[in-house]
Symmetry: C2
Subunit: 223 residues, 2 copies
């Protein structure tokens, strides 16, 4: 209102861009600027280490965060950043269209989750909405998340419940190729207990064998 009277000029939003692909960052920067010049890229980071170091100094309003980076996980980074900077809105930008990732991201405090197939204008709108406190989701994902929520508020059992801590321990070793006996040894459990955990993992993941569980685990990035 006060500054320029140009059509479409709005309050400046400071954006921090986190992705280990420089060319992708360049594309985001270019398209955002092109779409809405009041979106200001204040910094770019290519690693988790960098974002944890620079984010407090760069004072961004919104962080665009990749998941898979050479030195760590964007979701974990989100959790840590939200602890220090609760007012920042973090939007995950990932290639994975997996509900469990979306869940994990939102649980970690992310304000949104978009696929990297997103177009510039869509992303610009999401950034603005996130900055105003809205939750933003890829339309492809929104529907699935909605189904999940309605199921949760809904009835009895949960076909896609989250794995418990111990189950995740077992699943991680499973996805490393360990046999039950080895898993038992590494976790200091009896083989029977490992088997029991596996059965409940199969039930929650809705699979019928360790092979399918491994596939699910790897694809969903539980490893």
């Amino acid at each position: 209102m006060t500054s320029e009277s140009e059509t479409g000029t709005r309050e400046v939003v400071r954006v921090l861009l986190v992705d280990d692909h420089p060319l992708f960052r360049a594309g985001v920067a270019q398209r955002l600027m092109e779409t809405d010049s009041s979106l200001l890229i204040v910094a770019e980071c290519g690693t988790v280490r960098e974002v944890l170091e620079y984010a407090p100094r760069a004072r961004p309003d919104v962080i665009l965060m990749d998941i898979g980076m050479p030195d760590g996980n964007g979701i974990e980074a989100t959790r840590q950043l939200m602890a220090d900077m609760p007012e920042v809105a973090i939007i995950i930008l990932s290639i994975y269209d997996d509900i469990q990732y979306v869940d994990a991201a939102l649980e970690a405090g992310a304000a949104g989750y978009f696929l990297k197939t997103v177009q510039g204008p869509e992303l610009a709108t999401a950034i603005r909405n996130a900055h105003e406190g809205d939750a933003v989701l890829s339309p492809e994902l929104a529907e699935a998340v909605f189904r999940r929520i309605s199921r949760r508020t809904g009835s009895t059992s949960a076909p896609a419940d989250l794995l418990s801590g111990r189950e995740l321990d077992v699943l991680r070793l499973l996805a490393l190729g360990r046999a039950n006996k080895e898993i038992a040894r590494e976790l200091e459990l009896s083989v029977r207990t490992v088997e029991a955990h596996l059965r409940s993992i199969y039930a929650k993941l809705q699979v019928g064998s360790r092979t399918e569980a491994v596939i699910a685990a790897i694809r969903k990035g539980a490893v």
Copy 2:
């Protein structure tokens, strides 16, 4: 020589850009143009279908090709394109730093393989070299490929032998989570034969169980 006398102006190279992430394409286009304005992006495609349709018309000198696209595989697309347009140089641009992908890409006729973590100038140089007939590889990958070749020309046994056709059939079903009995049914074999193939798969992949074989298969993209 003949056209402009500007420093650094060289023969125009026509580039076709294939990737399902518009923002990544934008970044490549921007950085390439910035680095070397004689690299001309003649078209962009977001799917395998599109590239197979538009490539012959766009008459590119060099194609930058992603691997994972919604409707198919960039390596397979490379194989098909090389059949029709043997003079084009295809550079794979992938997030996967896996030797077996590199092998498969080069075997399919690609002129090079770069990770998406590549920087603009590096990529520009690679495009120009590929257009002049050179093979181009990410430095991270070149070393591993070299090791592989020296092993091949080298000594006796091959610790990493290639899987045979039937073994691949079995491995693919394995990586889909099928049990031996199901694999046998789908391939119209006896379970004993499936087991035999699995044993030789384990030997070639140097793993000790179906679980590890599945992991290897998924990670190396045999699926």
